[in-house]
């Protein structure tokens, strides 16, 4: 049954001013015009089109994909809004899609709530909305509901976006941070730290020009390929804030195991290494927006790695370490130099060192 009623094509409103003002948050015609002209125009799909206060789905359609719903939400406040390799819109779609996908879910529906500081240009909003629309393209996953708020100057930093996602987990797929077992192999799908370095570089605070693009990407297809090759995969996590080190610590703690990685197998771009050298940062803690950590049984590791390597978003994939018995929660690294060190959680944020 199709519960979305057929509607007469509605004429979309148009914004005729260059910047967002408080009038666009007032609930009247100006707000409707903004939503129509910027968001409905870009997202353009049948579930969103009726502009009811909620999106409505057919339960049977959802149930066809699997036996469990996955539900997640994330807020995006990145500065700058547009950075090498992406923008806040792309990030907001990728982040939520990836949070669903690492649970084994197929992403189906997204919401998009934006908080806009007055004075932001309409053109910037259009650019971000278009970027969101293009990011979801080809994934069978749509932005089906949303909200806009406009706040006074200074009440937010230009633009904040919250996306919520619903996905469905196919029958028999069970992934969790607590499922890593001694003997398992730890994989990543490529070069680490690009997003963190790109953002720090783009902020310009450090007066360093970095030729590094964010790795921001939707990983659901890569994950499907990985899970097809490794049906008994234990754990998938996207290594966002806090980077690889944080995710490994979370997995080691939840599974009550130790994890040891090998620095020489941990892929980091020369430019990111150089950037970190200059600023005194540790790339293991830099954020990624297109990288997963996968823990798979040893006998599926080869196939899992091959599956990732065969996907464009896994071209730099590598087996970086193993899960071992030992002190629960401990993560160590064999350094390229021949030593061994503990890789702990970060206390606060990384701060550039003085000398």
């Amino acid at each position: 049954m199709n519960i979305v009623p057929m509607m007469r094509p509605r004429r979309l409103g148009k914004v005729n001013v260059p910047t967002v003002t408080l009038a666009h948050g007032g609930g009247g015609k100006a707000m409707k015009d903004l939503i129509d002209d910027v968001f409905v125009e870009a997202f353009d799909n049948a579930t969103l089109a009726p502009l009811e206060d909620q999106a409505r789905f057919d339960l049977a359609d959802i149930a066809a994909h699997g036996d469990r719903l996955a539900f997640t939400t994330d807020s995006f406040v990145v500065d700058p809004l547009i950075f090498p390799g992406g923008d806040i819109g792309k990030l907001a779609v990728c982040g939520t899609v990836n949070d669903l996908a690492v649970g084994g879910a197929r992403p189906l529906y997204l919401s998009c709530a934006v908080i806009i500081e007055e004075g932001v240009t309409i053109e910037l909003l259009r650019q971000i909305a278009r970027s969101m629309a293009e990011t979801r393209a080809g994934q069978g996953c749509q932005i089906v509901t949303g909200d806009t708020k406009v706040v006074h100057k200074g009440a937010c930093d230009k633009l904040f976006i919250t996306t919520t996602g619903i996905g469905v987990i196919p029958d028999s797929r069970v992934l969790g941070a607590h499922l890593a077992r001694p003997g398992d192999v730890v994989l990543v799908n490529g070069l680490l730290g690009d997003h963190g370095a790109a953002i720090l570089g783009a902020r310009g605070d450090m007066a360093l020009e970095t030729p590094i693009d964010s790795d921001c990407a939707c990983l659901h297809e890569l994950i499907e390929a990985l899970l097809a090759a490794s049906p008994n995969a234990r754990t998938l996590r996207d290594a966002t804030r806090g980077g690889l080190a944080t995710v490994l610590n979370e997995i080691a703690a939840a599974s009550e195991v130790t994890i040891e990685i090998d620095e020489t197998h941990t892929p980091i771009r020369e430019e990111v290494k150089g950037f970190c050298e200059i600023l005194g940062l540790d790339p293991l803690y830099l954020a990624n927006e297109g990288k997963i950590v996968a823990v798979v049984p040893a006998d599926e590791a080869k196939a899992a790695l091959a599956a990732m390597l065969a996907h464009p978003l896994g071209a730099g994939a590598s087996a970086i370490g193993t899960v071992n018995e030992g002190e629960p929660g401990r993560v160590t690294m064999r350094t390229g130099f021949g030593g061994r060190r503990i890789v702990d959680m970060l206390v606060g944020e990384q701060l550039p060192r003085i000398c």
Partner: protein, 377 residues
């Protein structure tokens, strides 16, 4: 990376470790007790932990992590002064990143920023001067911090500001000098040190001559060391060789960066801008004579201490802190009563827990497999 990977070569490291083991086995003292070698500089401490060097060394060598982290040794009273300046509405307070978390008696700069103070992280004092040019209606204060390594860049920025006639820029000068501090440590009656890795970056500015007294009067070997892991290993080997041969010399392992005479241009800028203070307060070590510098009279207009009224209160270190004993090599970080309990990187009480380069913080953060073997963490 060129000029970096070469100094992180695993095979060369293995060869050096073998050489170190062979050398140690011929030193009689090492059979009685571990040889204590102090790395003066926080940068060395960081490298030692980051590359897992401690665990590679034979058990007869103990590395003692010295006072050379300028962020760590900054006393609470000075942080309070920073916060007082930063909270003035007309001020934009600029600082190196890792000073943000240093606790004052009431708050750190990070907390002051959260409370509304305009505090900005910069990578160089020149960036602070740029901010001053761009904000002529604000007072821009740079938090001058560090040993001789960073002293010249602050001095040159002040000279630049003076030549441009910038009137809204000043420096809160907390620069400190390493030699009196080494002297204070060497004077300590309960000292257990057998040799030093000298600070590479400081020496790049001051050269190697200022350390001669360590060899001559205190009969301790020192090797000025680079920061890459092979530099550290080679320098340890050089110190051991001196011990073995009964020598106490100042040697320069980091000759690719450190000229024996130092950097004349940097030294002349330093001499032009600064004069020694009578004494300066160090967290963990107390007051040390002639260990800090301030701006000379002709540059008084760039001196934030003279420009703003400051609380300037001395705040005593917490009494249970054992930072001084750790610094002198008497105890290991994890043997301090407060380590990991009352004193952690989130809530540091002692100097050495403050910055990533502090010995206690490094033990806590990177851990030490050596400490783990001792059942400590």
């Amino acid at each position: 990376m060129k000029y970096i990977d070469e100094f992180r070569d695993r095979e060369k490291a293995a060869v050096l470790i073998k050489e170190i083991e062979a050398l140690v086995s011929t030193i009689p003292l090492a059979k009685e007790r571990p040889l204590n070698i102090m790395e003066v500089c926080g940068g060395h401490t960081h490298s030692i932990f980051r590359y897992g060097i401690e665990g590679m060394l034979p058990k007869e060598i103990d590395l003692v992590h010295g006072p050379g982290c300028p962020v760590c040794v900054l006393p609470m009273g000075r942080v309070d002064d920073c916060v007082a300046i930063a909270e003035r509405p007309e001020v934009i307070f600029t600082t190196f990143g890792d000073a943000m978390r240093v606790p004052g008696s009431k708050k750190s700069l990070m907390q002051a920023k959260a409370d509304g103070a305009d505090i900005r992280m910069v990578y160089s004092p020149m960036d602070a001067l740029t901010i001053a040019r761009m904000n002529p209606d604000r007072e821009i204060v740079f938090f001058g911090l560090g040993f001789e390594t960073t002293m010249p860049s602050t001095a040159l920025t002040i000279l630049q500001a003076a030549s441009e006639g910038v009137t809204n820029f000043s420096v809160f000068c907390n620069h400190i000098t390493i030699v009196p501090t080494l002297k204070a440590i060497l004077e300590s009656p309960d000292l257990h040190l057998d040799g030093f890795l000298g600070p590479g970056h400081v020496s790049m500015v001051i050269g190697t001559a200022p350390y001669e007294f360590i060899a001559r009067f205190y009969k301790k070997p020192m090797v000025v060391a680079g920061f890459e892991p092979l530099d550290v290993l080679q320098s340890i080997w050089m110190v051991l060789k001196q011990i073995k041969e009964g020598r106490a010399d100042i040697e320069n392992q980091y000759a690719r960066v450190v000229p024996d005479d130092g950097n004349a241009a940097a030294l002349s800028a330093v001499a032009e801008v600064y004069e020694l203070r009578e004494f300066f307060e160090w967290r963990g070590l107390g007051s040390i004579d002639h260990s800090g510098v301030r701006l000379r009279e002709p540059y008084a207009r760039f001196d934030a201490e003279r420009r703003f009224a400051l609380p300037n209160v001395t705040i005593a270190d917490p009494t249970a802190c054992q930072c001084g004993e750790v610094l002198k090599g008497m105890i290991k970080p994890w043997q301090c009563k407060l380590f990991g309990a009352a004193c952690t990187p989130e809530t540091p009480l002692g100097a050495l827990m403050v910055s990533a380069e502090g010995a206690c913080s490094a033990y806590y953060q990177y851990g030490s497999l050596k400490a783990e073997r001792a059942g400590a963490i």
